[in-house]
Amino acid sequence: MNYNVNDKGYYGEFGGAYIPEMLYPNVEELRQNYLKVMAEPDFKAEFDKLLKDYVGRPSPLYFAKRLSEKYNTKIYLKREDLNHTGAHKINNTIGQILMAKRLGKARIIAETGAGQHGVATATVCALMGLECIVYMGEIDIARQAPNVARMKMLGASVVPAKSGSRTLKDATNEAIRDWINNPVDTHYIIGSAIGPHPYPDMVTRFQAVISEEIKWQLKEQEGRENPDYVVACIGGGSNAAGTYYHYLHEEDVNIIAVEAAGHGVDSGESAATSILGKEGIIHGCKTLLMQTNDGQITEPYSISAGLDYPGVGPMHAHLCKSGRAEFMAMTDDQAMKAGLDLCKLEGIIPAIESSHALAIFEEKTFKPDDVVVVSLSGRGDKDLQNYIEYFKI
């Protein structure tokens, strides 16, 4: 089976470009150019150089000895948390800002939930001297003040999304509306592996550096490129897409996707889209989507602001439906505990998103000689307030 996008923009039955005609010229321009631009030697050289000198790549693949002892298996952490700006998000924004420049765009827009993608976008806009407008739900602005301040310091305008539920999905709606109103000079940097084709594929390709590095790093340390498992948390699914990309067609590698169960999958407050969602259309693509019977999109919940998206990238919907990936859902409590565990055992404070991926070791047993690579997608600095309140530190 093919797990990559096909020439019509679909992953199995998922994907496509369900966009209003007003967006067609923009999306079509990108579709016709993205692969061509990415293949240009100049583009690759500039992308690679920035990832190395500016982002700090390659990010280490770290053998977590004490964590491995605790769970009696071999756990490696892919340290995306050590990237500049603190998460994997910057891999994609570097790629897309270079793409925007090649396409002659002068103005950049983005959506953000917790603010990580907004900060990563504001960062590359400062780096390239481009105007940056970040849409963020009014509620998220109130609960993510430090990231709002970061974006402003980096020169971005942060525009509150006041419609609907005033969170990530509404910020995305507002960014799309901005793009409709500014169809010529603006590039929209989508932060996850979602949106109309070619976005899911383009974002995945920019994030694919994660699994490209895992391959040679694991070869150095274990003598083989392929682990037994790759594990990543999934909201929209960009770090997961990058972590899986070079393993999608390696059948000896098991893929585990970890969603946020919130207060429990059946609690009514959850973001476990693969279980609670059904096929639908959100933000320009057909995918699994949390919605009412009547087709209205519902608001998910997770303690982690990076995982509470009502959809999931179309590639992941296909990995789920085809059975290629095993989907698990971890609650707030399980994730918080796993996060604190990593602090004590390895001296690493993870983002709460990444803590969801770490939480599976309490639930699933691995063999002692299994090699399990977990994407540590971000660092926990942004979550300190959450950790403090949760553990009454």
Partner: protein
């Protein structure tokens, strides 16, 4: 003959009005439609509200949110409309986003529309190529006209393609924008209106987005068969209630 085609063949400039079903109150749908017809409106677009209307500006977003809060659903709307053809003769179009139709089942949705006497659909986020490949046959089976949008950025080749797939009118978006965000037309729009008029398309064009009063209605219909008013009407019923529809239509048609 489909009521839309029949209406388009009349020798007059057409006024089409959009309203959000379920707004301001859940049960206003039928009386709004009847009043619009009585007061000289030629085509009505019944908005099926959606939680995430990404081609719409603040006015229609707010009315959609309120309509959903009021309890509007696809099923409720169909029930409200079941006897509409006993009293209303002008073309009726349902305008909505694709996901609620997709969940209802596209064929079931089309079938229900035919039973009620709906003449066409406008679905901003159902792209023309997906429609062409997957749904055109179903729409035609149930006698529905699917109305596509074009914008100032749509190139001639694509306009010709859309014209070839269409069998009603073409919805000309006046400028690059979401609904309700323009006021008045400048040279850029007039040039675009002329460019499209000169293409001699097989489908007549009806201009929407940015039409809010008699002046913009006259301007738009100078180049096109008709004009569509959405946000301005929604704003009017929001401010003045649904018993003042005549005042609104009079102000447009003068």
């Amino acid at each position: 003959m489909n009521r839309i085609n029949k209406k388009l063949s009349e020798d007059k400039k057409l006024l089409s009005i959009y309203f959000t079903a379920g707004y301001p109150n859940i049960n206003d749908t039928v009386s709004i439609i009847q009043d619009l017809e009585k007061n000289g409106v030629d085509i009505i677009e019944i908005g099926l509200p959606f939680s995430d209307p990404l081609a719409d500006g603040p006015t229609i977003q707010a009315s959609s949110t309120q309509a959903l809060k009021n309890g509007m659903t696809t099923e409720v709307l169909f029930n409200q409309l079941k006897d509409i053809r006993k009293t209303v003769n002008i073309p009726l179009i349902i305008m909505g986003y694709f996901n609620p139709m997709f969940q209802y089942g596209v064929e079931a949705f089309c079938k229900k529309c035919q039973e009620i006497g709906i003449d066409g659909l406008i679905i901003p986020d159902l792209p023309v190529d997906v429609y062409h490949e997957q749904y055109q046959a179903i729409f035609e089976q149930y006698g529905l006209r699917n109305i596509f949008l074009i914008t100032p950025q749509t190139n001639d080749e694509r306009i010709r393609y859309i014209d070839s797939i269409s069998n009603g009118f073409i919805y000309m978006v006046s400028s690059a924008s979401t609904t309700g965000s323009q006021s008045g037309f400048g040279d850029e729009q007039t040039q675009y209106f002329k460019r499209i008029a000169d293409m001699n398309l097989k489908n007549p064009q009806v201009i929407g987005f940015g039409i809010s009063n008699n002046e913009t209605f006259i301007q738009a219909t100078q180049y096109a068969k008709g004009a569509i008013i959405g946000s301005a009407f929604v704003k009017h019923v929001s401010n003045h209630g649904i018993n003042t529809i005549k005042e609104f239509t009079d102000s447009i048609l003068e």
